[in-house]
């Protein structure tokens, strides 16, 4: 318990020292970098993952490939991939973004696909029966019903991207992981634990954000079902 208090005091001191909040390498800059990596890669990954997940889910073609891609992607060590990209292409943002997008697509793709495919065929039939076009079936029925799983996929992708963006500091990139890696190399434990705390807070905010989003946009009718199932 003393250890924990001590740790918290360290973090408090570190956060309180004003030099952390200004200029090059300060918290605002690192946070901005972190959010840029994460946000951009999540955006691209969402575009790719949602489009292909909806397509495969709606048509039912390529289901086997989706499962294979998901397992394969899960097996890739993200840390290794980022380091490899930097080794091969040098220290620049674009290659790392590509790596992060590659990591974020599979969970979005898989969950979108599962969500759309999981729509009761009777519901889909009923939608066609009342005269909806294929596009309307997708947009008005399948997507709203798949929304809980789509959001789950986005959340998992966001969590992985935020975590991997932290690791990206190791081969020399910015982001909040910078504090941890620099602290480790300088044996500055205050820096390590302070950086870690920031990363944890950011991850929790992402988690809370998705929970709030889910409450806001998922139909209450589906929420009840998701809870009991």
């Amino acid at each position: 318990m003393n250890e924990l208090l001590n740790q918290l005091r360290l973090v408090g001191d570190w956060l309180a020292s004003s030099q952390q909040w200004h200029g090059d390498g300060g918290i605002p800059q690192r946070l901005l970098e972190h959010l840029t990596y994460s946000g951009l890669s999540l955006l691209f990954a969402a575009l790719i993952g949602l489009a292909s997940g909806l397509l495969v889910g709606h048509t039912g073609r390529g289901a086997f490939a989706v499962a294979g891609v998901a397992t394969l992607a899960r097996a890739i060590p993200t840390f290794g991939l980022v380091v490899l990209v930097v080794t091969l292409a040098g220290l620049s943002t674009t290659p790392v973004l590509v790596a992060l997008v590659a990591l974020a697509v599979p969970p979005i793709l898989l969950n979108t696909f599962e969500g759309v495919r999981g729509v009761d065929p009777a519901t889909r039939d009923a939608a066609r029966g009342v005269g909806m076009t294929e596009w309307q079936v997708l947009v008005r029925v399948e997507v709203p019903m798949a929304l809980p799983l789509i959001l789950l996929g986005l959340r998992i992708a966001a969590i992985q991207v935020v975590a991997t963006a932290t690791v990206a500091a190791y081969p020399g990139l910015g982001g909040l992981g910078r504090f941890i890696v620099d602290g480790l190399s300088r044996n500055d434990y205050e820096l390590v634990i302070g950086g870690s705390t920031l990363v944890v807070v950011l991850a929790l905010l992402v988690q809370i954000g998705f929970t709030a989003l889910r409450r806001a946009i998922v139909s209450p009718g589906l929420r009840v079902a998701a809870f009991t199932s």
Binding site: Q7, T71, G80, T87, G90, T166, I180, V199, A203, F227
Partner: protein
């Protein structure tokens, strides 16, 4: 990376075969023991959550919050308590598995058809015996599906532990960066993926052996 350097120098792999095998063993231990520990925690926790439905939401929330914490940060937080040891890597990895394994156990138990549960009670199974002899065996396919996800993710996350000196094959990833030499990095990635996919395949096989009944589909109408 200097120009003309190939992605993989096979010679290097041959020279380091023995060392690679040692690190592979360490990697397996660091990646898979947490899954075992996670299962040991998740089965009773999942049973309790299944029995007391109200407990599931808070337990799952805690597991999801733990899962959201980036591994690097979590390792650093544990360094203060367990030092630069294997435990510092394995404890967070164990915690991560909970967000997959607890729902797997709960969903698995929920997959037991209600008539089966009723029949077991009516035939005179007590609660404990019913869980062990009827419900858990029926939950096995769903639980194993969760174990597959947990094991594959865990094996790929181990590498990050290298930043505190305990990363199994992750050693070659940092080594390659330091030497500006891609071969060890590519080798490590390939081996880690091989371990993950082999583990996945073995788990599929284990499921087939454990649950011969789940394969057989209705042959007569």
């Amino acid at each position: 990376m200097s120009d003309g350097e190939p992605l993989v120098r096979w010679q290097w792999i041959g020279d380091h075969a023995g060392e690679l095998a040692d690190y592979t063993g360490v990697h397996l231990r660091l990646g898979l023991l947490p899954v075992l520990f996670g299962l040991i925690i998740s089965v009773p926790l999942g049973i309790v959550c299944h029995r007391r439905g109200w407990l599931y939401a808070p337990v799952l929330t805690v597991a999801n919050i733990l899962y959201a914490i980036p591994s690097l940060a979590l390792f650093m937080i544990f360094v203060n308590y367990t030092g630069l040891t294997e435990r510092t890597v394995m404890i967070p990895l164990t915690l991560y598995t909970l967000s997959v394994l607890v729902p797997a156990v709960v969903d698995g138990l929920a997959s037991v058809p209600e008539p089966v549960r009723q029949a077991a009670t009516a035939l005179g199974f007590g609660p404990a015996r019913r869980i062990v002899q009827v419900e858990l065996p029926i939950a096995v396919p769903v639980v194993i599906a969760g174990v597959r996800v947990a094991a594959v993710s865990s094996l790929s996350l181990v590498a990050v532990g290298q930043l505190i000196g305990q990363g199994g094959l992750g050693y070659y990833i940092t080594r390659g960066l330091q030497l500006d030499f891609p071969t060890p990095i590519v080798t490590a990635i390939a081996l880690i993926m091989l371990l993950a996919l082999t583990t996945d395949a073995l788990l599929v096989l284990a499921q087939r052996l454990l649950t011969p009944w789940s394969r057989s589909k209705v042959t007569t109408s």
